[in-house]
Every structure is written in C-alpha cells, then in structure tokens.
Symmetry: C2
Subunit: 331 residues, 2 copies
C-alpha cells in the first residue's frame, strides 16, 4: 500500500491539510460536517498519521528510552511490565536498550539514545556512571533512575531502601541470637545493590558491637554461584544468607541441602527480589517483596509528570518493601 499522507486525506475530503491536522488532533474548532468528511476520508484511505513527521514538527518523539542491565529479564521483567503498562496509558513507546556486560560500550548506547531524540530516559542500571549521566544531562530530557537515590533538576528517582531492609532484617536476627552470622551474597551484575546490602549488614553488626564484615564475595573463577557454594557452603562462617536475585538464593539453597545442611535449621536464606520461583523451590524461599512492578510503573508515571511539566512533590520517591516469610527462615 502506498503510504497515505495528510495531503491525500485533504484532497480526498476536499479540505486543506491544516483541517485534517485539526481533526487528527481533536481540536474543537472544526465544524461537525467538515470533521465527518475528513473522518470518512481517513477511514477510506486507511490513513495513520506519521509519528516521525509529527515528531519532527513538534520536536518530540513520544518515545522513551529504557536502559536495563544485561538482559536477564528474569528480574528486570516486572519493572518493564510496570513501565510499559503506564507508558501505554500516556501513549509513549519504549525503546529498549540493554547493556550486555562489557560487550556494548556505554557510550554507544548513550549516543544512540541521544540520536533517537527520545522525550525521556529511564535507567535501571548500576553501571551507568556519573560520566554518562553527565552526558545525558547536557541534553535536556528528563531522566528517571530506578533503584538508586538521586535527583537533580531534570533527574528523579524511584527506589527501595535496600540498605535499610537488609539492616532491619539483620539487626532483628542478631538481636534474637547474637551468634547468628549474617552474610550478603555478592551480585556481580548489580554492584550498587550489593553495596547497599553490605552497608545494611555492616550497620547491624556495628550496632550490635560485633566485629564482622558480612560480605560473601564470589571469586571470579566461579562462573555460577552454585559451584561456589557447593565448594564452600559448609565452611562459610555464616548461617544466615541474603541474596539479591532468586537464582543466587536458590543456588545457595541447593548447595546447602546437597551438602547435608538443613534449611532453615543450619542455614537460613533470604532473597531480596521476589519472584515466582522463590515460591517454587523447596523449601520455599523467604523473600523481600521489592515491588518491581511498582518501581517501573511509578518511574514511568514520574517521567510523564516531568514531561508534562506537572508538579512533582518529591523527586526522590521511596517505595516500601515487605518481608514475606516462607520456609527458608526460622520463626
């Protein structure tokens, strides 16, 4: 089908293109009769406005760039869901950018995003450092960061206070039993989150006057955390493990079971991000319910507010978490 343009519609309806434009955009100053004529022509020709041309004329694209870490959609998925659901409401499209570790130059992504002249950017990614952020902010589109407390003139953020979540959990455990040893499992693909978790435990230890670090670093030679735990879990000086993602928690859980430890008696395990799989493994994994869907939805909502110059009461939006006790923890 030959691409039909606004001119074709105008000719078909016997009006000027300006009138067609008015009809398309629902401006009220068009006479009923004319509008009907135009609409009939639109239907007849199957005309759909060219968003690119509109974008050029209006200097906006109704596209949003979303940057997520390497494409492990397992734990990114809910965020994307939330994002897309509200993006649809406000008629924005999502251009998806992933950062496969090391393979793609961050600079290239930033470049692509700028060239594509999106109206805004949502970033859920530890690895986008200040340098890149600075690059972005030279162009004046609004940015929303997920998972990281930050804000600025045209930067907002939506996050959960993970440090505090971990802190409260660890503190509770330590108060219950001073001999409990809480350890945080490193998440290689989420440095920032890992650091937050560590700060949480450390704060708890400190508050209890215990000299302990609480950081379980996964040596680089282990490609899968399961292998690491299989080799080491019996010797680990921790009996309460906190992991960020389900796969890591499950790895620890399986390794523990298979090395003769019972859960939660010998080792307790908690997962930060909730996923359906936490509920599918046995014993079921206790977990925080980091509201991933909401993180995405709220981020997108805030972005639309920035885009429409609506009032925003707070550019640093903290969402609350919930702890869901299942069978991998005591009491």
């Amino acid at each position: 089908m030959k691409r039909v343009t606004i001119y074709d519609v105008a000719k078909e309806a016997g009006v000027s293109l300006a009138t067609v434009s008015r009809v398309i955009n629902g401006l009220e100053i068009v006479r009923e009769e004319t509008r009907l004529k135009v609409e009939a022509a639109i239907d007849k020709l199957g005309y759909k406005p060219n968003a690119i041309a509109q974008g050029l004329a209006l200097s906006k694209s109704t596209n949003i760039a979303l940057v997520v870490p390497e494409a492990s959609f397992g734990y990114t998925g809910q965020i994307i869901n939330g994002l897309i659901d509200v993006a649809k409401i406000y008629k924005y499209n999502i251009i998806l950018h992933t950062m496969s570790e090391g393979i793609v130059e961050i600079k290239d992504i930033v470049d692509e995003i700028i060239k594509s002249r999106v109206d805004g950017v949502i970033i859920y990614n530890d690895k986008l450092l200040e340098k890149e952020m600075a690059e972005f902010s030279k162009y004046d589109f609004p940015i929303v960061i997920i998972g990281n407390r930050i804000s600025d003139d045209n930067i907002a953020s939506v996050f959960v206070d993970i440090e505090n979540a971990v802190y409260e959990l660890a503190l509770g455990k330590l108060q219950e039993n001073e001999n409990c040893r809480v350890g945080v499992i490193q998440d290689r693909v989420n440095d920032f989150t890992t650091r937050e978790m560590i700060r949480g435990v450390q704060k708890a230890y400190k508050e209890m006057g215990i000299e302990e670090d609480g950081y379980i670093e996964i040596p680089a030679e282990y490609r899968r955390s399961y292998d690491y735990f299989n080799d080491s879990i019996k010797d680990l000086p921790y009996n309460f493990l906190i992991a960020n993602r389900d796969s890591q928690a499950i790895a620890a859980l399986n390794a523990a079971k298979e090395n003769g430890l019972s859960i939660p008696e010998d080792v307790e395990i908690v997962c930060l991000i909730d996923s359906k799989y936490n509920n599918m493994v046995r014993p079921r994994l206790s977990s925080f319910a980091i509201p991933s869907y909401d993180l995405g939805a709220v981020a997108m909502r805030v972005l639309t507010k920035m885009l429409h110059d609506e009032e925003i009461d707070d550019r640093e939006i903290e969402l609350s978490y919930l702890f869901t006790k299942r069978s991998s923890t005591k009491s």
Copy 2:
C-alpha cells in the same frame, strides 16, 4: 543545552549543510581538509544527528517493533536478548510492545506500530491473528514471526518444530513402554504452542494405535497450575507430563512430590523451553533446549536481510532443538 543542528555545524565549519551531511554519512566525495574542518565543528558543538529528521528525509526510522505476549519475560527474555544483540550490530533500535492479556486491544498495538513507522516488525505472539497480520501487510514493512511456520511476500518466520519434538519424545516413550501415558499440559498464554504439542502426542498415539487424547486442560477456575495439579495429579491418567514453560513443569513436579509420587518413577516430567530454573529445581527437569536466544537472533538477522533487500534462501527457517535429559525422566 540548546539542540545543535546541522546548520550550526555548517556555520561553525564555514561550509554548507549539504557538506556536513556528507561527512556524517561518510560519503567519500568530501575533501580531506573539509572533512576535518567539519569533524572539528561536530566535536566542538557536540553535534549528534537527529534520527527523527533523518527518518523523515529517508522515510525510514531504523526502529523495529517487537511484539511479545504478556510481559512474562521469563521465557521471552532470551529471545529479546538474541534480538537486541543483533539489532545493535545493524544499528536498529527495538520498540517493545507487550500484550497484557485482554487489557490491551491488539488493534491499538497495531495502530501504534504503524504510526511509529518502524522499518520492520518481529512478532512472537500466538494471539496476533490473521486479521492483524492482514492489517500489517497492508503497510509494506517486512515482518518476521517467531515460533510459527508462516511465510509470504514480506513475511518470514523462525521457529522450532515443536510438534515433531513432542512427537518424537512421546513416540519413543510409547515404544519403550506401551502403558506409558503421555499428557501435554495446556499453556494458556501460548495457544499455538499448546496445539502443536497436542498434535505431537496425538500423532505418536495414533502411530502406536492407541486411543488416547493426551491433552491436560487446566480448568479456568485454577489460576495457578500448581493448585490444579495439587488437586488432581494423583488421579491424572498420565505418567509422563510435557509442559511448555518451566513454571508449569515445576508446578507439576512440586505437586507430584508433595502428593507422594516419586519422580521419575511414578511420573516423569519434561519441560519444553529450557531455562536456568529447570536446572535449579530438584529433581532437575529434563528439558528441550528450544534455542530461544537463537530464535531472536536469527529473526532479527532475517529481518535485516529483508530490510536491505539481501537474498534470502528460505523464508521459513527451522531451528533445531536438543533434548537434555536430567533427573525428571527415566533411563
């Protein structure tokens, strides 16, 4: 930062915008000296070409629309990964569209896609019916379908012969033991795949001269397949279950274990789509390794070929699968 345009660069470099355009696009007919001047100006001003304007001028957007089923990225993720990885190579952006069951009108999505004037579409979705396909094909962009054998003038497809995979598996089992009863678990969000699986078992039964249907329909009142299996697995007339997605296989597996059945002795379970979780549950799930990443990568590659009018030997590309035996099946 004021958006810098090609005019700004031209003025800065003391040349015309046509020359700047030539430099940007790497056309050889620019004198070295001039090119250097222009490049210096580009650097100095931090100019990045406006992809929207380029799009208008060239009537192409370098954007690809990707349509995936409701946003359960768990099993869509690998496909998206593959897609994006090769999209990057060819400098295409991915606009992501999801179809949350029932909530979004398919028509609206088609509409959005057409308005956005993407260069091509990749669809991984059972629910996009012929009606919508027809709508798409009125506009002349190329389409690649994932998971479904189909082709046409500007439609190609990349898929795995699931019917055959299931057929071979079922046949082998039945030949081994005529009393074995193979059942396919309905996947509500993937009608097409479900039907293919059913045809596979039915063909095997038929070939063995056995009067059996092999379809395990999950009644609508069960929101989670786990609940259904918990209620029914002991009475199910099947001892060899085939599920499409990991979560369904795991549901059956958990329900079986918890109802006193042992795996694989009493019930065997196989999952079609492989995921890391298949390897994380106990017993580990035997599974086909449907090459999801490759499905995405190949789909995108084919699309680029169509976009660049390259020769395509086959518009129906069948990818092969592998069966990975783990602990949820015998022998």
